[in-house]
Subunit: 189 residues, 2 copies
């Protein structure tokens, strides 16, 4: 028994999933997303609609599933030489990616899926893992690094909050938040 979930993730299932995901991504580019329908996706993917209904239930769950995939970072955060600049570089890329139109859609898709409360928290875990990586790197270099929860609360949270509530957050602001965390570290860390 190698890597296996509890059900039966056989080869055909995997193919159907890939094909449906691909269909969603392709159709999203060809038309406004609110025009996508399950029957249309099914046709593009070469499966019957009932397959999608049974596996995902509705468009929201399917979109969330697709979004979660895209969310997985394809490369580890860039190493810029110091803990502080690493976190700044990461924040910049994160903020940009999430503020883009596809990024916003991804966030919404994930947040709104209510099936198995876990998509959202998986999404947060991905971010946390990235930050853990930066923290470990800093540790290896003998540098101080802020608590990862604090980074989530004081840097990531405002970035996401502003995007969701449609209140642009200028770069100088989150940059200030990063600085503040490092300052605190120096003052009483």
């Amino acid at each position: 028994m190698t890597a296996k979930t509890q059900t039966r993730p056989g080869g055909r299932s995997a193919r159907v999933q890939a094909s449906v995901h691909a269909a969603v991504e392709k159709l999203q580019q060809a038309m406004p997303r609110e025009a996508l329908t399950i029957p249309a996706i099914a046709e593009e993917a070469g499966v019957t609609p009932s397959t999608i209904y049974r596996r995902w239930g509705d468009l929201r769950e399917l979109f969330a599933d697709v979004a979660l995939q895209r969310l997985r970072p394809d490369s580890p955060p860039k190493d810029t030489g110091s803990a502080r600049t690493d976190l700044e570089a990461w924040s910049e890329q994160y903020a940009e990616e999430m503020a883009s139109e596809p990024g916003r859609k991804m966030i919404q898709d994930v947040l709104v899926s209510q099936g198995e409360r876990g998509k959202a928290s998986a999404c947060c875990s991905i971010t946390r893992a990235q930050l853990d990586l930066l923290a470990a790197r800093a540790r290896d270099r003998g540098e101080a690094f802020p608590n990862v929860d604090d980074v989530l609360d004081q840097v990531v949270a405002p970035i996401i909050y502003r995007i969701l509530y449609d209140q642009p957050l200028e770069e100088s602001r989150w940059r200030g938040f990063v600085q503040r965390l490092f300052d605190d570290l120096a003052n009483k860390g």
Copy 2:
């Protein structure tokens, strides 16, 4: 001409809107929300489904509309005697209200409505207005009060972020965030 939007918000429209909102709230208590359908809501409200389709488009928009109403605070924030305790008391109530199951649903409903990008930002404005009120009160008393944007970013944002991503935020943490803002104010304000 009294208070009027640009279209024609006559008396019948208002009645239908009220009746539909009431139907949504009533049915939500009687059954799991994912079981609500537009035809069912229409029947409960005593209108035809096409009225709802034409006015709101789909369930998401309707839910967002209802949520935004509930969001309006019914009473101004409590006056506890000092700026710091005012903000603490407000944060506590806000965090509790938003973390509750209806609160979470409200947030999601509002955030996900894409029609006229404005529901989400209206929601943020309500919060900001509350904070402005606390700030004004502090000013009247001659007390310092943190920048409202900073409160949004460093206190409200983490509360909402944690709720959305299903990562419980302990009271001691946001309490610490409030404290930190007031400390900064004292140190270099």
